[in-house]
């Protein structure tokens, strides 16, 4: 097993499948009365969050606690982190505390890589800047497999602000490893021209959402921040929604079985219409539940558990 999870590229098909299979076992546990496993008793998992992300932090916290680990939350607000202590000094503190795993969320791309060179424990990237969010990709892959029964050969459209999206990068890498066909869709300003060369040669790019939908098994809508308008990535929220938003008429172009995903939080009415978000095709609520199972599997395997 790998020691850190910094990028979805760290996972080969075998390891990724092992994590998804383990997540399925963890999910079965959630149905039981006693939801805890004793596996990580006496181990310490630190959640080191330099960005506000209650949903991701709670998901990791729940995952670690269900495995009986001791959890320490180290958030940027009200701690030495916000007083300007360097990441390296914080790392040395965590090292002294005997952290077995550090889950880090950070606004700077690559911060988890830096951290991994300063601590002995496992480092899990919980989202770094505009780089990656590998556990999100794992929970997304898990959700697709649970709904559609497979990943190999699936047509997955990832729509929106690919340029700034760590979710998109991790998904492209993981899904390509697992045999899915990924098409990135959005305005040319938000899709780096060399994205296929950078991530996976099989990745396709389209600027036309309507042409992609009839063949899609999965449509993943990315959150689009309205600040991007000020930077002229697109002219207005209205035009963005018209060209790249998933509304009811567009949803009807999808095959019967296709699912609609969103990593949250959503801008309802911008990239996704409320009726679509709340439709039976939507997996948005399941994704949250699956997030805990996927993160349990990651912590379990990184910290030496056997599947």
């Amino acid at each position: 097993m790998i020691r850190h999870l910094l990028s979805a590229a760290d996972l080969d098909a075998e390891t990724a499948t092992l994590i998804l299979d383990t997540a399925a076992e963890m999910a079965a546990l959630a149905g039981r009365e006693v939801k805890k496993l004793p596996t990580l008793r006496g181990r310490t998992v630190v959640n080191l969050f330099y960005e506000d992300s209650t949903r991701t932090r709670i998901s990791f916290e729940a995952a670690a606690k269900r495995l009986s680990a001791d959890v320490i939350n180290f958030s940027a607000k009200g701690s030495s982190v916000s007083k300007g202590e360097s990441l390296k000094d914080t790392a040395l503190t965590l090292q002294a505390m005997g952290a077995d795993a550090v889950v880090i969320r950070h606004p700077a791309s690559g911060a988890p890589h830096r951290l991994s060179s300063w601590v002995d424990g496992s480092v899990v990237n919980a989202g770094d800047g505009t780089h990656e969010h590998p556990t999100q990709a794992l929970l997304d892959a898990y959700t697709m497999r649970a709904r559609l029964g497979r990943l190999d050969g699936l047509n997955v459209a990832i729509v929106g602000d690919v340029l700034h999206s760590r979710v998109a990068r991790s998904n492209v890498l993981l899904l390509s490893t697992l045999g899915a066909n990924v098409t990135l869709v959005g305005p040319p300003t938000l899709i780096p021209v060399d994205i296929a060369a950078a991530l996976s040669k099989t990745t396709r790019v389209s600027y036309d959402l309507d042409s992609v939908l009839p063949d899609a098994d999965v449509v993943m809508m990315l959150r689009v921040q309205t600040e991007r308008m000020q930077d002229s990535y697109f002219p207005s929220a209205r035009e963005y929604a018209r060209r790249y938003g998933l509304d009811v008429p567009r949803m009807r172009k999808l095959p019967e079985h296709a699912i609609v995903m969103h990593p949250g939080p959503m801008n309802r009415g911008m990239e996704i219409a409320p009726e679509v978000a709340d439709s039976p095709r939507s997996t948005i609520v399941e994704q949250v539940a699956n997030g805990v199972s996927a993160r349990m599997a990651v912590l379990y395997l990184l910290l030496g558990g056997k599947a």
């Binding site: 360097s86 990441l87 390296k88 950070h106 700077a108 791309s109 690559g110 911060a111 890589h113 830096r114 770094d128 800047g129 505009t130 780089h131 990656e132 760590r166 990068r169 780096p192 060399d194 994205i195 060369a197 950078a198 991530l199």
Partner: protein, 421 residues
């Protein structure tokens, strides 16, 4: 003054001959000297001249001082360095440039020639008192806002015109700031993969294209700092063919390293302009040989540990360069000594107007001399560097060439590979 007889060194790579240094000058060989140096296997070059050095004093003496930077320069084979103006306070007045010049004289290891800021406080809004700096004791001839681009085209035009009165030159850090907001590394496949905001090649090329046209329009001299892209080479080639009075430099790191190194997220590889692709490196090497790029300049940029041992985006850009420049150029160009002397000594001395530097080691010339052992190979150890900072991207690399001795106007500043003071 101690006289030195260097026996059997290859002057500019030629046949072994004796070189006598007496009373600060190269003297007719013959007769005894106070000290004799066995020059067997060594190559004698005119002392190297760096057109682009950050000495950090005044303001960031924790990263470098004029003295520690001068020592690093001497150990790298340099006899003159041009000190960039982005200090704190900025070198935008006669007072500050004279202070730096005086500190250089006191250190006495290399000639420290201050560069003056083009605009007040490097703010890019109005011209600094360029004439006052030119007529100061520091006799400034090169003006640069390096670190910042003089982005306003009208201000750039005025600066180019104004310095004609005292044969000055504007050294431009070519970076269109609107195209590099938040930029962290070269824009391309690697930046896309790493999720680091891209610094597109066009941001450099567009400014160079504009500036060569402005220089042509007003008939002024332009120098382009740290050229880093293949596209910039094409713009320069075109401008030179038209007869524009433009010169350009390339750094050792842009001749050797590529953007792939950013994959470690180790900010020791963060520099501005950023490391580019292998194709750019190849184009820069060819341009340097051809003369489209005139010189090698280090952009020696010391930074304190805390400014590099951090997240990539929070780190300051820049790398050490003085002590490793010649070995890197040697590894890139091979033992083409005439070419190396031209690109690292003669032409930079001419651009900077540094009389007495960049000579040909002829009898009567001021004895600014560097002795190199090309056969030696050394592993770079950051802890051994004379610079006060440690931000070398070459740590652990084994490079050819060792600077054995450096002489500044006949005084040894380095002997046996060690600084004399």
């Amino acid at each position: 003054m101690t006289s030195y007889l260097i026996r059997g060194a290859r002057i500019l790579g030629g046949e072994p001959a004796d070189l006598l240094i007496r009373d600060g000058r190269i003297a007719e060989p013959g007769g005894a000297a106070d000290e004799t140096i066995d020059g067997t296997g060594l190559v004698a070059l005119p002392g190297l001249v760096d057109l682009h050095t950050h000495l950090r004093e005044p303001g960031r003496e924790d990263a470098e001082t004029v003295e520690t930077g001068s020592r690093a320069a001497a150990l790298g084979g340099y006899t003159a360095v041009c000190a960039m103006a982005n200090t704190s306070p900025v070198a935008d007045t006669a007072g500050v440039v004279e202070q730096v010049w005086r500190l250089g004289r006191e250190a006495g290891l290399v000639d420290v020639q201050p560069i003056g800021a083009v605009t007040v406080g490097l703010a890019g809004e109005r011209l600094a008192e360029l004439g006052a700096m030119a007529t100061s004791a520091a006799t400034v001839r090169i003006f640069s806002d390096d670190g910042q681009c003089v982005a306003d085209p009208r201000l750039m035009r005025r600066a180019l015109e104004y310095v004609k009165a005292f044969d000055g030159v504007i050294a431009q850090h070519a970076e269109e700031p609107r195209l590099t907001e938040g930029a962290q590394m070269h824009e391309g496949e690697v930046s896309t993969r790493l999720g680091l905001t891209g610094w597109p090649a066009v941001a450099e090329e567009a400014i160079i294209a504009r500036d060569v046209l402005l220089a042509e329009h007003v008939g002024s001299r332009l120098h382009v700092c740290h050229v880093s892209t293949a596209g910039s080479v094409e713009v320069l080639r075109h401008a030179k063919a038209r007869g524009v009075r433009v010169t350009a430099e390339v750094t050792p790191h842009h001749l050797l390293l590529t953007d792939e190194l950013a994959a470690s997220y180790d900010p020791v590889y963060k520099v501005n302009p950023p490391l580019r692709t292998a194709a750019d490196v190849q184009a820069l090497r060819e341009a340097l040989v051809e003369g489209v790029i005139d010189i090698v300049a280090t952009d020696h940029a010391p930074h304190a540990v805390e400014d590099k041992e951090c997240e990539w985006a929070y780190a300051r850009p820049g790398m050490l360069g003085l002590e490793t420049a010649l070995p890197i150029v040697l590894s890139v160009l091979g033992e083409r000594w005439e070419l190396i002397a031209d690109r690292m000594s003669r032409t930079p001395a001419r651009i900077a107007g540094l009389d007495g530097h960049g000579g040909s080691l002829a009898v009567g010339d001021p004895a600014n001399v560097t002795l190199v052992d090309p056969a030696a190979r050394r592993q770079v150890d950051a802890a051994e560097l004379a610079s006060r900072s440690r931000n070398t991207p070459y740590a652990g690399m084994t490079l050819p060439g060792r600077i054995v001795a450096t002489f500044l106007r006949g005084e040894a500043t380095v002997l046996d590979g060690k600084a004399v003071k």
